[in-house]
């Protein structure tokens, strides 16, 4: 999260609403470790990353939804071939994210 703090500061100063997505757990092979973070502002700007680019698109959709509803939740992405997931990691792992409004 360190690397996106400057962006978060700027967004907060501008009064933008922000959703923060953090990797909390990785099963199997995953590109980023727990603590990797990305943030999405209410007008769709994105900073940071939570994978090697595999799931970021889907995270933006989830994040905007969470900004709308205000409900924080866990979201998991697994292997692309698994029917349970529309998007996933090509490396075969599963990444668990906690996505929440940055209202703290």
């Amino acid at each position: 999260m360190k690397e996106i703090l400057a962006d978060l500061d700027a967004w907060r100063a501008e009064g933008r609403r922000v959703a923060l997505a953090r990797v909390v757990n990785v099963e199997g092979s995953g590109p980023r470790d727990p603590g990797a973070a990305m943030a999405v502002s209410d007008n769709g700007d994105v900073v940071g990353s939570v994978s090697g680019g595999c799931v970021e698109g889907a995270v933006v959709v989830e994040a905007l939804d969470i900004l709308e509803s205000g409900e924080r939740r866990m979201v998991s992405f697994g292997y692309s071939d698994d029917e349970a997931f529309a998007v996933g990691l090509t490396c075969g792992g599963t990444v668990h994210l906690f996505i929440e409004p940055l209202d703290w």
Partner: protein, 279 residues
Amino acid sequence: MFRRHPRAPGLVAVPELYERLREAIGDERPVALATVIEGHNAGAKLVVEPDGDITGTLGHPELDRIVSRDAVGELAAGRTGVRHYGAEGQARETDVSVFIESFSPPPIMLVFGAVDFTAALARAGKLLGFNVIVADARSVFATVKRFPMADRVMVAWPDEVFDAYGDRLGPHDAVCILTHDPKFDVPAVQRAVATDVGYIGVMGSRRTHATRLERLHEVGVDQKGIDRLMAPIGLDIGSRTPEETAVSVCAEIIANRAGHAAPSLRDSEGPIHRPPADG
């Protein structure tokens, strides 16, 4: 303005949480952030400092007490991950999942010797997130103008540098001695092996290192200390330019820290610079 969404009833949002976290990270102080990610009060947070000082609450004082104790331990170990508790902090229960994220200050890279390899190594060190300090006793060479990428340039002898940083060096930090001048690198090695630093690399040819070893023995550096030295410095990847050498040194630092086998020059024989293989 920020629109606040209500959290679970009874839990008051603590607006200074982000600021507390931000301040500690900005000041390069270690700090941990604990967040309930599953169970009652999801999203509740605790900012934990190494002395156990806390800001915020996870919803129950006993849970706060247990989690902050664990967070101090995780922070000391530099670990980030999920732990499970009962609603009142009970062990071996899983009502509540808490994500504990450790924020450690950037690791330190001390580079001795303001030589031509130093600028490239300092740049590579910055790329890896090190707080890079360049030191040389010669004021003509140790200048900010030559090393604008370094976080600090010190005109100093090794003793002074280790007096300032020695106590702070740990497993994630690195000391790179590039001087290949015994009057500088012998004292630098002496002081480096007296710290807990994770990586000590020393530049110089195999012959230079053989002579250096004799001097180190003379000044009382024991075999345990000698065994910690990565000398000649870097991985055996055929690097020649300062930039390529910087990559080989940084790769060796990563491999060392991860405990992965990689072909270090220390463990190979023959000339460091060999003609490329045919084909």
